[in-house]
Amino acid sequence: RGGGGEASGDKIVMAISTLNNPFFVELRDGAQAAAKDAGVQLNIVDAQNDSATQANQLATAASGSTKAVIVNPVDSDAAASSVNALLKAGIPVIGVDRTVNGADLDSLVASDNVAGGRQAADELAKAMGEKGSVIQLQGVSGTSASRDRGAGFEEGMKAYPGITVVAKQTANFDRAAALDVTTNLMQSNPGVTGLFAENDEMALGAIQALGAKAGTEVSVVGFDGTSDGLAAIKAGTLVATIAQQPAELGKLAVELAVKAIKGEKIEKNVPVEVVSVTKTNVGDFAK
């Protein structure tokens, strides 16, 4: 299978969980740039956050002239059978951003959401002076990103007995939903001084809801490090965001896929740093 020599023109399929989110758009951009550099054809399919759609797309990929597959699973468990089918057909599979449980991926390029959740707890506690009450905005119920960040955050908060999480509500990773939910929660919890949103989109909606309180009376921490998020840090309304490096994730995934096609040996685990971005280091990230 394409052993050695020219990789040029080889087809790689990249199955992304959703492109309706700037995070994945940046991941895609990184991957595309890398594909161009390597001279391979990169087909991107978007599952719109539906595991079954993704299974369909992976099956379709297997029937074409695909040389390698990069998968960003909608759900880490659900992707296993499709990925195993690809592996059985001899097509190398690289996971990106989220792992696939129960499949022996050729490689995984990911940042650690649980660790990120813990970091978010630390940043928020620092900003709040380790006391006060906190609202947590959750992502789409049942997604691994929401699950893992929530778990990490809860774990991290255990270290700060002075802080209580007074309300947890879902805002579906969505800015508009976060605006309404935060407005309502501030109504029943007026004394809140901290807010953790499981992604930057929700953090920005919350900031909108908090108005002048954002960054003054209430500290907000987000997740992702999107360009809007970084701008909010500069503006002082967002205290911190746990930045992933989506473009870097995408780029590394493609590079690994190219190596796999050439038959080169690749590392099983390629971790990408998750960085806590605050006002002090935001300059290094601004794009």
Binding site: A167, Q169, D174
Partner: protein, 323 residues
């Protein structure tokens, strides 16, 4: 805002008739009383303002939907058209370099255009409205993503103004009220509005009476598109940015508001006041559940039950009245 024509002596407001015609209102009132008892945070001036703001997007979408449903159709594209209009407006401003107010008008024009296409496809292309607008849902959402490349776009100050305040009054509430008045006026006072009831109630009779059924259908969808654009710009104004996924799935909320408000999906029935009550039911439930901090999983269960109950109360009330 009642569809039935009031008797000549219009001075004294007919409470009984109003209640009888606004069934879901009873459900809404019960809901509000329950929340008032359950949490002191519910009945505060600030929270009522919040509810007013939060209902604005869905209500404006649902007003447009009311025209369509009264005329016997359905419009699944309103959420996507709202997003497309806001995104187009943002793009016209940011990349097209248009002045803010022109960008705002451009956004409205996009909504009107999308709605008109729906209407043409339904009336002249003979596509069932479910299919025509489902196709538009997909096309409009796709175009929104294409224009934005999946990223939010900052909106013009003129658009953001829609999400702001004038004096102490939130603009979304002002727009909501204006939209309700305009929609209600169109539906009740104009010939084209009254014709919508005829088309939805009995299209054949409308045609035999010489009503321009096709033109009415096009108007109905065009209005839905225009109201969707307004809702989209309102939402973008509140968020200070046009979001690629804005208003996703709102079509079901909008349809639900209209149906909770007493309209029938088979056409010929429906009122703006009812739709407004329907939208409030949906928003008040969510607001209340947030205030009560019901966990997000159970929230969905409770929302479902309350929707069924709100409409159920109305059905029950009507039954006892009739027998």
């Amino acid at each position: 805002m009642s569809t039935t024509i009031l008797p000549a002596k219009r001075r004294s407001f007919n409470y009984k008739k109003f209640l009888a015609n606004n069934g879901a209102l009873v459900g809404l009132v019960v809901l509000c009383i329950a929340l008032f008892i359950a949490t002191p945070d519910f009945l505060t001036a600030q929270n009522l303002l919040n509810i007013g703001i939060q209902v604005s997007t869905v209500a404006v979408l649902a007003f447009g939907m009311t025209f369509v449903i009264v005329a016997g159709g359905i419009d699944l594209s309103v959420g996507a058209v709202a997003a497309l209009s806001a995104m187009s407006s943002g793009w016209l401003f940011a990349s097209g370099g248009l002045p803010g107010w022109l960008a705002l008008l451009g956004g409205l024009a996009v909504g009107l255009l999308a709605g008109t296409i729906n209407g043409l496809a339904n009336a002249y292309g003979k596509l069932p409205s479910f299919i025509a607008t489902l196709a538009m849902l997909s096309v409009a959402r796709g175009l929104t993503l294409v224009i934005s490349d999946g990223r939010p776009i900052k909106t013009a100050a003129e658009v953001s103004f829609l999400g702001g305040n004038i004096g102490p009054v939130p603009m979304p509430i002002v727009i909501l009220v204006l939209a309700a008045l305009v929609a209600s006026f169109l539906l009740n006072r104009t010939v084209i509005g009254r014709s919508m009831y005829a088309v939805g109630g009995n299209a054949e009779a409308a045609r035999l009476s010489g009503l321009p059924v096709k033109r009415i259908l096009v108007t109905v969808f065009a209005l839905a598109g225009l109201f969707a654009a307004l809702a989209g710009l309102l939402l973008a104004g509140r968020l200070d940015s046009a979001q690629p996924q804005a208003a996703a799935g709102y079509e079901l909320d909008a349809i639900a508001a209209v149906v909770i408000g007493g309209a029938s999906l088979s056409g010929g029935l429906g009122k703006i006041s009812g739709t407004f009550v329907g939208a409030l039911v949906l928003v008040v439930i969510r607001n209340g559940l947030n205030l009560l901090n019901v966990t997000s999983f159970w929230q969905q269960v409770v929302i479902g039950l309350v929707i069924a109950l709100a409409v159920g109360v109305d059905v029950l009330r009507r039954k006892t009245r009739n027998s």
